[in-house]
Structures are given as structure tokens and as C-alpha cells.
């Protein structure tokens, strides 16, 4: 596949540049803080989509990768004076490897059993970390101010980390796109449709599932490292927030599972919606309710999400938007 000849590739590049440039040009910190959340959501949704949308395995605990990445990074940077770059890469690699090993086991489970196990894993890891003294137990890890020095002080470091998060966002979309257009992706979609039939057709389902589970852990872990480095601290409840995990599912469903555009648009929309609800007085307490109603409405009336609806209205869109 000639990547540079594909319009969708350039669309990903354009969106990434937009996120990178919009706040940077005017040094707009408020916009940056909005977009960082948007970018994180897109990263989580795009990677979760590899499991839910491509493979048909509902990972309720995908946030465990984000949290582990955050913890590993802050532990390396804060406790062992590593630089940020090697720390996030190692955190991503270790999390991905853990996911691979874990996947060999839990991916033998299907349907509701798998979903339950993923919740169990996230909760087990959260409770473990909350009791794990080297990582600060329930108090978590605080980064000393000196950690930002190597990057030219906190002000400059926050901008750098923002751009890195946007880069990870672009990479997440690119990975989602490349997987979808690959033989590997074709095998995943076959598993989603009918795992037993896919195996009879020659798809090595156990290996494919484990690989995609592991892949879906890498970039969220890196993003977790960057995000919590930016925050300067990490605690178990924020790192392994099961709610965010489920919100990521809402984003994927909102945009349309199985499509790259859908996951990204769903995430960005959800972030806007959430932001809107939080700022409207009287509604801020109800954002969970509204998200719940929204999810229920999508499931009942538009299971294909936004992209499903768009594709039905304009079938030719299928050729442009992945």
C-alpha cells in the first residue's frame, strides 16, 4: 500500500498538525488544556477500537494500560532519575509485554467472560498498586520539581509534553489505519465476525488476539506516562479509573465502532460534550446521567454510531473515510 498516495493518511497528518498548532501559535494555555484531554481521549478510543471495533472483544478495563504506563514512567523519572523519553518508551514496552502475557490467558475467554475478566484485572491492579509501597501506596507518586528542569523548566516542559501527546495521538490514528488496511486487520475483522469460522479459514486467532491486545496497550501506556508526567503526580484512583475506561467505550460507540474516523470523532465529540455539561450550571452534576442516556440511545437506536449513520446517508463516504 502506498501510504503517501492515500488521502486518509494526509487527513490524519492534517488533524495532528491542527492539534499541534492551534494552541501553540497563540501560546493559549486554556486551549492547550482542552485539547490535551481531547487528544488523550482520541488515543484511548483509537486503541480501544482495535479490540472492540476490529476484533469484537469488549475490553472494559483498557484504562489499566494508561495507568500502568503512568506509574512506570513516574517511578522511573521520579525515583530513578531517568529522562522522560526513555522512561515513556520503556513504560510502553513493559506494559505492552505484560498485556501480551496476560492476553495469552484472558483471551481464551469470550464475550461476557472476557469483559468481566478485564474489569477484574483493572481492579486487581488498582488495589495492588494502592497497597504497593514502592509506588507510594494510596498516596501515589509526586514528581519533584527538578524533574522538569531537564526540559527547560515546567513552563517549557508542559508545551513539549503537549506536543508529544499530540504526536502519540497521530501515531494512534496511523496505527489504527494501517492495521485496518493490513492482512493482520483482515484477520481481526474475521475474528470479530465469527472466531471459529475464522480459524477454519486459517486465521491464527489466539496469536492475532494476543498481538492486538498487546498493541492496544502500547500507545495508551506511553500516553499515560506523558499525561501523568504533565500532571506531576499520580494516584491509583486516577490512574486506574474504571469510569474513564467505560467512557472510552462510549466514545467508540458514539463515533462508530470499527472505523478510525468514528473512534476519533466520537472521542473529540465526547470531550466537547463533557466540557459543555461541566460548565453549564446545574448540569455539572448530571454529566454522568447525560452520558448514560446518550450511550443508551446510541445502543438502542444507532448501534453503528455516527459513522454508521453517515455511511448510510452517503455510501460513497466509505471510500474516503476509514
Amino acid at each position: 500500500m502506498k501510504l503517501f498516495a492515500r488521502p486518509f493518511f494526509w487527513l490524519i497528518v492534517a488533524v495532528t498538525l491542527l492539534y499541534a498548532l492551534l494552541p501553540t501559535l497563540g501560546q493559549n494555555v486554556t486551549l492547550r488544556e482542552t485539547l490535551v484531554l481531547s487528544a488523550i481521549y482520541i488515543i484511548l478510543a483509537a486503541n480501544l477500537n482495535l479490540m472492540i471495533g476490529y476484533t469484537g472483544y469488549v475490553n472494559f478495563g483498557s484504562i489499566v494500560f494508561f495507568g500502568l504506563g503512568g506509574y512506570l514512567t513516574l517511578w522511573l523519572v521520579g525515583g530513578h532519575h531517568w529522562g522522560l523519553y526513555p522512561a515513556v518508551l520503556l513504560a510502553g514496552a513493559v506494559t505492552s509485554l505484560l498485556a501480551f502475557l496476560l492476553g495469552i490467558g484472558v483471551l481464551r475467554l469470550r464475550g461476557a467472560y472476557f469483559a468481566l475478566a478485564t474489569i477484574g484485572i483493572n481492579e486487581a491492579v488498582k488495589d495492588f498498586v494502592a497497597n504497593f509501597d514502592p509506588w507510594g501506596g494510596a498516596e501515589g507518586i509526586f514528581l519533584p520539581f527538578t524533574a522538569f528542569k531537564a526540559m527547560g523548566g515546567p513552563g517549557k516542559a508542559l508545551w513539549t509534553v503537549y506536543l508529544l501527546i499530540v504526536l502519540v495521538m497521530g501515531l494512534s490514528l496511523l496505527v489504527a489505519y494501517l492495521v485496518k488496511r493490513s492482512k493482520f486487520g483482515l484477520g481481526l475483522f474475521a475474528i470479530r465476525e465469527d472466531e471459529d469460522a475464522a480459524m477454519v479459514l486459517g486465521v491464527k486467532a489466539p496469536l492475532f488476539k494476543t498481538l492486538v491486545y498487546s498493541l492496544s496497550a502500547f500507545l495508551p501506556a506511553v500516553a499515560g506516562g506523558l499525561y501523568f508526567f504533565k500532571n506531576g503526580s499520580i494516584i491509583p484512583d486516577e490512574a486506574f479509573n474504571l469510569h474513564l475506561s467505560i467512557e472510552a467505550i462510549v466514545m467508540v460507540m458514539l463515533g462508530g465502532q470499527g472505523t478510525v474516523t468514528g473512534a476519533a470523532v466520537g472521542a473529540a465529540l465526547y470531550e466537547r460534550l463533557r466540557g459543555l455539561l461541566l460548565t453549564i450550571p446545574g448540569l455539572s452534576n448530571f454529566h454522568l446521567v447525560i452520558a448514560g442516556v446518550l450511550l443508551l440511545l446510541i445502543i438502542l437506536f444507532a448501534p453503528g454510531g455516527l459513522m454508521g449513520w453517515l455511511y448510510r446517508a452517503w455510501p460513497r463516504l466509505r471510500r474516503v473515510l476509514e
Binding site: I52, G56, V58, F60, G105, V106, R108, L109, G111, A112, Y113, A115, L116, A117, I119, G120, I121, E123, A124, D127, F128, A130, N131, A138, I246, I249, M253, N285, F286, H287, L288, V289, I290, A291, G292, V293, L295, L296, I299, L300, P303
Partner: protein, 284 residues
């Protein structure tokens, strides 16, 4: 040694309440293959229901009867709105729809009660049984759990409606061919499962302080208990709950209480992996 035995006894009693909660979850799964992710939120609703009734002057133990009826009605409504339209869709859909119900309940609950703790403050005595000290509340909660379970079994095995529930659980199509109105049965089963969850929440509220988020931990305990007993198997779920309570009771004197969750979830994942049909055999 006596402290350990007392702790184990406490665990056994609370385990029966976990078991009751787990039966609510496993019954719904057994009848319609739906994992009810609103389970925890419903447990929390049960806590607040008994709290409100107590505030209105009703003794918590009398309040249980009202809570059961509210649970039945609420469960039927949830079924009709969020489950029935997608009962034949892939399992992901019912997982998500019941989860959305959970978000709505927790959201409304947070807006109304915030997330600060509440408790049902009624006189509790301590009893000495065979030399062990037990609070009356714990004893009554365990007894109530056993009675409700017994009542459920009477219903399932001795009444026509209960037999219809079992028939639908066994094979929905065949039951329909026999003239059983399966949609009504599914709605009633969801109602019963919800009522059991609310009852267990109400019982827990007589023992400990609670918040609107407290249901979450009991939902997870229900998963662990019902998976231990085999998803879809009510007796298994009760035993699963008891095992869970016994584990908690026997490790409590030795380690920090927060480690018990880690142990439980590790057991949970291991059981799912190696005994996916549970220790007592379930439905797959």
C-alpha cells in the same frame, strides 16, 4: 485462636449477604445471558431505599419488604427500556446498555445524595453465641439472606411461574413453543434479580455506612461469587458468596484489609481462566 474463629464467623455471616447479591446477578445471567452491569448501582439503590424508608419511620427490617417490591418494579422497567429491545443482539450491546443504566442511576444518586457517607442508625444489640460475640444486625442480615434464598427456591421449584422461569432459562425457544410468554418471564426474572440486588444492598446498609458509589465493590464481589459458583447457578452463587466471606474472615486478622480485594480479584481472574464454569458447574 478465638479471635480468628470470631472473624471467620463474621465472614460466614457477611458471605451469605454477598451470596444473596450474587444470586441476583447470576439469576439474570442464567435466564437471559445478560451480565447486568447495573447490578452495583442497584445495590446502592437498595441501601438508599432502606435509608429513606427508615427516615420515614419504618424499621429497616420492615423496610426490606417494601424494598423488595420497589426492586421488582424497577427491574421490570429497566428490562423493558434497556434490555428488551436488544435482547437478541450481541452480548456487547446488553453489557453496554445495562452499564448506561448504571451511569444514569449513579449520576442521579450523586446529584441527590452527593458521594458522602450515610448510615441507617437503629438500635443493635450484641449477642453471645457459643462463646462468640456477634451483633444482632449481622445475624439478622445473614438469616434474612438465607430466608430470601429459600423463598426464591420455593418460587423456582414449587410455583408455576417459577417453573416457567426455569423453562425459559433452559431453552427459550422450546419454552415459547410450549406456550410460555417468554418476554413476560424475562421481565419478571430481571425484576427478581434486581429485587435481590436491592435487598442485599438494604441488608448491607444495616451493617455499614455507605455512599452512592458503595455498590461498585459489592458488584465486583457478586461477580467473583457467581463466577466461583458458576455463572447462572444460584446455589453456586450462594456458596461462592460464603467462600468469599470465609476468605475475608480468615485473612482479616493477618493482613491489611485493603489486600483482601487484591486476593479476591486474583482469585476471580484465575477462576475465570481455569474453571470458567465455576467450581460447582454453571451454564455456558
Amino acid at each position: 485462636m478465638p479471635e480468628i474463629l470470631a472473624s471467620v464467623l463474621d465472614g460466614l455471616l457477611i458471605g451469605l449477604v454477598y451470596g444473596l447479591a450474587a444470586i441476583g446477578l447470576t439469576l439474570i445471567f442464567g435466564v437471559m445471558d445478560v451480565v447486568n452491569l447495573a447490578h452495583g448501582a442497584v445495590i446502592a439503590l437498595g441501601m438508599f431505599a432502606v435509608y429513606l424508608l427508615f427516615g420515614a419511620g419504618l424499621h429497616p427490617y420492615l423496610g426490606l419488604f417494601v424494598v423488595a417490591l420497589i426492586g421488582l418494579a424497577f427491574g421490570v422497567v429497566v428490562y423493558l427500556v434497556a434490555v428488551r429491545p436488544i435482547i437478541n443482539a450481541p452480548p456487547l450491546m446488553t453489557l453496554l446498555s445495562t452499564f448506561s443504566v448504571s451511569m444514569i442511576i449513579i449520576g442521579v444518586g450523586t446529584a441527590v445524595w452527593s458521594t458522602s457517607p450515610y448510615n441507617v442508625n437503629f438500635p443493635v444489640t450484641t449477642l453471645r453465641i457459643l462463646g462468640y460475640t456477634v451483633t444482632s444486625a449481622r445475624l439478622v442480615a445473614a438469616l434474612a439472606a438465607v430466608l430470601v434464598t429459600g423463598f426464591l427456591y420455593y418460587f423456582l421449584y414449587r410455583t408455576t411461574l417459577g417453573k416457567a422461569v426455569r423453562a425459559v432459562a433452559n431453552n427459550r425457544e422450546a419454552a415459547e413453543l410450549m406456550g410460555i410468554p417468554s418476554q413476560q418471564i424475562l421481565a419478571i426474572s430481571f425484576g427478581i434479580g434486581t429485587a435481590l440486588a436491592m435487598l442485599s444492598g438494604a441488608l448491607i446498609a444495616t451493617l455499614f455506612p455507605f455512599t452512592i458509589l458503595s455498590g461498585g465493590i459489592y458488584e465486583l464481589k457478586s461477580f467473583v461469587a457467581s463466577v466461583l459458583g458458576g455463572l447462572g447457578n444460584p446455589t453456586g452463587a450462594l456458596f461462592g458468596g460464603v467462600i468469599l466471606g470465609l476468605i475475608e474472615g480468615s485473612v482479616a486478622p493477618f493482613i491489611k484489609i485493603s489486600w483482601t480485594n487484591v486476593i479476591e480479584f486474583v482469585i476471580f481472574v484465575l477462576i475465570l481462566l481455569f474453571f470458567p464454569t465455576g467450581l460447582f458447574g454453571g451454564r455456558r
